[in-house]
Amino acid sequence: MPYTKEERSAIWLDSFGIDYARKAKLLASHTPYALASQFLSLRGEICAAVGEERCAAMEASLRSAQYYGALERSYAEKGIACVTYFSEGYPEALRDIPDPPLVLYCRGDVSLLGRRKFSIVGSRHTSPHILRLTERYARELSKAFVIVSGIADGGDAAALSGALERGGAIAVLAYGFDFVYPECNAALLRKVEERGLAVTEYLPHEEPRGFRFPARNRILAALGEGVLVVSGGMKSGTRSTAEHAYQYGRDVFAFPYAPGVSSGAGCNALLKQYAKLVDDLVDIAAVFGINLTETEEISLTDAERAVFAAVREGEAHITEICAKSGLDALQVNPVLTMLEMKNLIVACGGNRYAALK
């Protein structure tokens, strides 16, 4: 679908890498199309906002017959679709925040932006138990929502891969499409682009930089109807996402952590303020009035039931599980493997196991 003139103007304006505050100042009184079509009469104002050098570049681009065509072609070659503030497909959720991105550069299925969305975020330091739990929540919630997350290692990656198993996923990036960060999630990002959607407000050549991540978090927070924080320390970026979400009036959810677990101290801090405690999917489902009952019936043998009951008492070492279930280690080991395959428990390393339900 060809871009409208307003969209084209927005893409043109965004291509100069002008920082958000200056862009906002210009757009406060003029539309992008007005800026482009009446450039000469507005030159003084534009020059004051963005500086002489950039202003000259903008002027030159308007005089050049090729500039815009080349820009659009280069995006098309990279498989990038642009959804601007003036586009029909622009998510309504972003329109009600004070600083909406002018253009969303997208790779993948743009229609996902129009679906119901829910954000799940977690820090890089997330225990294996919580990672598996996150995957499961993302998988279940993806029945009703498109799951939105970052692409960082740990909690974010678990949310995206869980969501991709069954439904749609949106990854919000803090850099342009010429980059992949972190490198280790390159395969996941590719999968998201193929089966879900990756979006960013940054030009393809803008590299990942520290300051872009908090700015990205506002989009992450705004897109979802709610945000689930699965892990995060006191200084984790997940807290900034939660803070944005709270300010935008979104529901904030968090997993509770035991005292002294540093990877969850941030979650507990959120729970003390405004976040809702989640220890069951129903806690989220009830808020949105959706039904997420699991259809899968899992049958257990007597031994499996005994071992599962032992694990449910809390994360335990295999010798404790043996003591509680009355079986010896050689009998318990295959049972634990079976329970793991039935997605009921998770191995936390060091021969320790935790229940997922």
Partner: protein, 506 residues
Amino acid sequence: MISKIMSFALCGLDGVPVEAETDINSGLPSYELVGLPDAAVKESRERVRSAIKNTGRKFPVQKITVNLAPADLRKEGAYFDLAIAIGILKASEQLAGADCGGIVFLGELSLGGALRPVAGILPLLIAAKARGFTTFVIPAANAREASYIEGVTTYAAPSLGAVLDHLTGIVPLAPVAASSYRAAQAQYRADLSFVRGQPVAKRAAEVAVSGGHNLLLVGPPGTGKTMLARCLPTIMPDMTFDEALEVTKIHSVAGVLGGEGIVAERPFRTPHHTATTVSMCGGGSHGVRPGEISLAHNGVLFLDEMPEYHRATLEALRQPLEDGCITVTRSGGAVTFPANFMLCASMNPCPCGNYGSADRVCTCTPAAIRKYRDRISGPLLDRIDIRVEVDSVRYDDLTSAAREESSAAVKARVERARAVQRERFAGTGLRVNADMGERELRQHCALSPEGDGILRLSFERLRLSARARARILKVARTIADLAESRDIRPEHVLEAVSYRQSDGDA
């Protein structure tokens, strides 16, 4: 006059006959040694000269030429000192009446005339025996080693003087008494009963040894990974005489043989992680020597903190792990050493070591953990069938009086499982389940529909790779053998799945 004395040179694990020809002519006094000698052989001139003088004989003041034949073989080491000394004495007619024909002389001389032990006596004597020689004169310190060769007469002499007295019949030496090999003489210091707790890891060790699988122990520092690894040789079946002889040959050539004369214990080698590829695989500029993997032949090669080893060194292990031997090629020629070892590696679960710990916090990012684990390449991990977690031992476990099973009890089960495998693979050239290829897997590892369902589920849910399938099947076969079950039952598959590589990175 010309004299000819037999000796042997070491070539890899084999001996090659070398004849020391000595000719003494009238002329300006000189001493020439020819026949591609290396530095140690050349220096024998000085040792031989002093030894002869200090034994009370005369070093001829004439033109002496010693030729070590065949001339095109590079001679290394100090094996020929004794043969050269005898040759010179014989050629200068100081050994009138002594018959040295058919006797093989081996040994290094000290300046005072004493005979010093040399490395590699066992393979040299075995090679000499194979070529029809039956009488040997060797240094007294090598007597134990030589006593395990049957059907030969070996004289062990403490000094050149003793050799001369023996040859001239003044004080004949008594032949070395033959020792017989008893496997039970193996004396291990470690025992499985000293390892407290760790039921899963111990079981994994038992399965690994039974089926000849390589083993990876994952756990934080100080949890007894090394202790457990040290117990592996103690639960392996006793070595047969041929196996022991093979190991002894290698240790003899490397010069690491203890006073026992024969290696009855299965070797346990723990090269440090700074080990170079050459020290691991064999090589060297002075003759090709066996590396750590050959010294671990028929035993265990333990790589503590595997990710710390040089990548190239680890990669070099792949081919020997597959073939059971290593061919080292140097400018001097190629030598093949046996290297049939069980690989046991240990590593931390993450760089800080606290991943999965109950009471300590792991401070590693997922990326750091992945980077740490990626230091071991996939193809190498492919050759490790069993991975098990060794966790921190609690104080109660350490002090508990509960009786832990001894190595002997486990060994009995291992031997039964090995017997089953011997029967299964009779005539195929395979020894253990770990050796099975795709064809044998199909033949011996058929699964019941239920077992197949479990395997299928494990692939879906635990994200196993296709490569993991063969590993799981082999291990399941071994577990069934340990249970003396003809069929692989579902619980065997489940246990095998539990020893998989973690988190789908199999």
